[in-house]
Amino acid sequence: MFPVKELKRSFLISIWFAFLTFPIMVIKVDPIERTVLWRWDNMFFIAFGSFVISILAKVYLLRKERRAGRKKAKKDIAEPFVQRILREPRFLYPLSLAVLVLALVFPMFFSTYQTNIMTTALMYVVLGLGLNIVVGVAGLLDLGYVAFYAVGAYSYALLNLHFGLGFWAVLPIGGLFAAFLGVLLGFPVLRLRGDYLAIVTLGFGEIIRLILENWNDFSQGPSGIANIPRPGFFGMDMSFASGITYIYYIVVALVIITIFVVNRLQNSRLGRAWLALREDEIACQAMGIDKTKTKLIAFSLGAFWAGFVGVIFAAKTTFVNPASFTFLESAIILSIVVLGGMGSIVGVIFGALILILMPEYLRALSEYRMLAFGGILVVMMVFKPDGIISNVRRSYRFKKHHSKEVIEP
């Protein structure tokens, strides 16, 4: 069943990996005691492991090929199952309702810890949806998204510290601050293209973090701001566990609002302009779309969500310092968008749940956790480069009284 040729290939691969990992995996030196430890057993594990993995990968690829071949033969490129569900209201509505009910009863059946990390994951859903407007829909590669997140978090921390403003008052303010900063930063740089925009936004992200780190009088520097109050509920004093549950419901509500708003934005005149901008800027301009304005709106709307979630972040963690807003954070949010499926709301939700919950559930792997995380990121991209769920195609229904014909898409 499995060709000998492939076995030989896997054997060669295992030798290659044994060679590749030789210095790092096998030799361990102690430069002070001047001793060398040769860990030959590691070489054996690597060789054996890569042999097995390469065979498994080959089997997978062969089957995939066979399946693809069969599909072509049948000449039916069936719409993916998930897409179909998302498209048909009679599936989508009950499913959404079920998910909503599940989300609402979640804290009653799971521990505070589970609720807590679910809250984190849902916050990243919102962040992902926000960045999705910028990267997925409008096609602007933003590597400094975390800057806006930081603005939101520090808005709450500082406004609360100095002026005693409460969570609910700052929630919109944080979002607006971030959106304003988005306009401010976006204005000079949005004419840059693709990867140049990427590095400039990365730079902005770092600049914001460095300012927070160095400007002690303003932000209290790296020691951060502690004892930020959790959101109040009509002045009630809440225990930690019920506080967590409360924030959880706030975030659930925020997720619902975000999905609603983002969905409507995507299916609007503005959303179409963003998509068009992603596909062809010059044609876009020739069709009368104001490139700068449209991009700025996307950029600042994305920033708005980040600021919003930032406020919640500060309230949930009760502590902020610049260490939470590094480039890696931006990279994770970007990964959520790409992994989930650019431009796809459902995809981004899945992406966030997987990427944020995965490290938590990988805790069992303890120190191998981030290794696994990085590896899984690569494997997922290689096997599903379009993301988990690519965007659902829209179709439009025509009203009778406006056009003479009616077409059912």
Partner: protein, 263 residues
């Protein structure tokens, strides 16, 4: 004759030291179909790009006059989208559709500059926005019917045939409600049957009150369609006039015989 809707005077475009366009004058009157011809590399597309704001002209004046309101606008240095708003739209030589958007959406994009809804409207879908959206869809659909693509509304633009893509581009440009339409080689790569459909389409569009400026290599098409023809070579205008006048112009013959004759 009524006043020109487009008046170009002494248009010059330098790239480094090279004059891609050298003091070209051109005018278009309401209801006219005007062709711009010339050998490859004569500067025709550059001329289009200057008109539509993709390049900023080095010298000269471009003035657009709205035939209804009579408002005159100087286009030099204006952004492409502003120019489109003024009532001049274009198609591209190497088709620039939005490939993964549907046929209908492509045309709907054309409606962008004639509609208003922004964030508020998108989120709250107030009655005005809903009406506007319905209008966009209805108008776009009507335009698609005109260009003969109404059976493929939900198809992705990239899956259309070549001729259909060209027609879609025209439809998209029409959606911006231009009084002047610039077509950059609309018949390139089309088979005779498709070309024939195109000619009918262009005539129809013209009849509806759009003036047309087109770049084209297909001489049969140019001669049968155009009211007037401008000829460019090496960035300069070498001739202008009715098809008959241009056909017999020695400078034109020389320019075309000097190299490959396309038609």
């Amino acid at each position: 004759m009524s006043k020109a809707i487009l008046n170009v005077k002494g248009l010059t475009k330098n790239f480094g030291g090279i004059k891609a366009i050298d003091k070209v004058d051109l005018d278009i009157h309401p209801g006219e179909i005007v062709a711009l011809i010339g050998p490859n590399g004569a500067g025709k597309t550059t001329f289009f790009n200057c008109l539509t704001g993709i390049y900023t002209p080095s010298e000269g004046d471009i003035t657009l006059r709205n035939p209804e309101s009579g408002k005159e606008t100087r286009l030099n240095g204006m952004k492409p989208n502003k120019i489109t708003e003024q009532g001049m739209a274009r198609t591209f030589q190497n088709i620039r559709l939005f490939p993964t958007m549907s046929v209908l959406e492509n045309v709907m994009i054309g409606r962008h500059c004639r509609t208003k809804a922004l964030i508020f409207g998108a989120v709250f879908r107030n009655p005005a926005t809903r009406r506007e959206e319905e209008e966009i869809i209805a108008t776009s659909y009507d335009i698609l019917k005109k260009v003969g693509l109404h059976k493929q509304v939900d198809e992705e633009a990239r899956n259309l045939s070549y001729g259909a893509q060209r027609r879609l581009e025209i439809g998209r440009a029409l959606a911006t409600e231009p009084f002047l339409l610039l077509l950059d080689e609309p018949a390139a790569g089309m088979n005779p049957k498709e070309t024939e459909t195109l000619v009918t389409l262009i005539r129809e569009i013209c009849k509806e009150g759009h003036s047309i400026l087109l770049i084209e290599h297909d001489m049969k098409l140019v001669m049968s369609l155009s009211d007037r023809i401008f000829v460019m070579d090496y960035g300069k205008k070498i001739a202008q006039g009715t098809p008959e006048e241009v056909r017999s112009n020695p400078a034109v013959i020389k320019a075309y015989l000097g190299e490959d004759v396309d038609a």
